[in-house]
């Protein structure tokens, strides 16, 4: 159990570090120019959406193309490992279509922010869970060599 926790902590650390590196320049710009913080405007370029989509699908491909894992587990179980990347992709496309509107309404703005939060949340849960599992599986394989 301790091994799972330490592996999860390791991945959480790297995820936070990568997120900080991506958000660092944006944060510096705000601090430097004294701009008023507007979450919609911050999220509108879709950088976080892109990161969420790319990261989630990267891990999904790792999982589904793994020679050992691809042949194990039931179809139903593997389907769940496919459902979240698909859902993230739907959310990202949905959010991006809202962000391209010229004058989005307040409801659209709320939807856009919510979809961003859900995409990033799903990405974090998926990456943390799947990557921890994959790492444990790889360590187990290495011990056999």
């Amino acid at each position: 159990m301790l091994a799972y926790v330490s592996t999860a902590a390791e991945w959480l650390f790297w995820t936070l570090l990568a997120s900080l590196a991506q958000l660092w320049w944006d944060l510096l710009t705000h601090l430097h120019e004294g701009l008023q913080f507007d979450l919609f405007r911050e999220l509108q370029p879709g950088i976080l959406l892109f990161v969420a989509l790319a990261t989630t699908w990267g891990v999904a491909i790792d999982y589904h193309l793994d020679e050992a894992l691809a042949t194990k587990g039931s179809f139903f179980r593997r389907l769940w490992f496919f459902a979240i990347p698909m859902l993230v992709m739907v959310f990202v496309f949905w959010a991006y279509s809202i962000s391209r509107q010229i004058n989005p309404s307040d409801a659209d703005r709320t939807s856009f922010i919510t979809l961003n939060v859900y995409s990033i949340g799903l990405c974090a849960i998926y990456v943390l869970g799947s990557k921890t599992y994959l790492l444990m599986h790889q360590r187990q394989e290495k011990r056999q060599l």
Binding site: Y4, A83, I84, S130, M136, Q144
Partner: protein, 134 residues
């Protein structure tokens, strides 16, 4: 809350619940594969089978495999850990039977078994509990 947010929320909850359920099962399987049984018990697991004649040409190779397996187990390594097992047959002159020892997975790159011998295992994998002279 508008309809689109409600739909997104419902989908998210369903996806997360399903994923966590699937992940829990996967991790449980991983634990099971890791600690399925003690090495000594696996190495000493003896199953008799009826294919004595067709395995005789491979006796030397089987002896080597068994020796490697015992050495690995003595070092605390589990060559089959985390994998589906095959069984390596070992001819035993002493009591005139064929013993099968739990061995590693069926991937050719890992097990290093003679391909013909591998085919014998595959053919007989569903007959592990048959008595010698059936």
């Amino acid at each position: 809350m508008n309809v689109s947010i409600a739909i997104a929320t419902a989908l998210t909850i369903i996806a997360v619940a399903g994923f966590l359920f699937a992940l829990r099962r996967e991790v449980a399987n991983l634990d099971k594969r890791t600690s399925s049984s003690a090495p000594a018990a696996q190495v000493d697991e003896l199953v008799r089978m009826t294919t004595r004649e067709e395995l005789k040409p491979f006796q030397e190779e089987l002896a080597r495999l068994l020796s490697d397996l015992r050495a690995q187990t003595a070092r605390g390594q589990l060559p089959h850990e985390g994998y589906h097992y095959n069984f390596v047959p070992m001819l035993s002159a002493a009591d005139n039977r064929i013993d099968l020892f739990a061995f590693e997975d069926s991937r050719p790159s890992r097990s290093g078994l003679n391909p013909e011998l591998r085919n014998v295992f595959r053919r007989r994998s569903d007959r592990q509990t048959l008595a010698l002279n059936e």
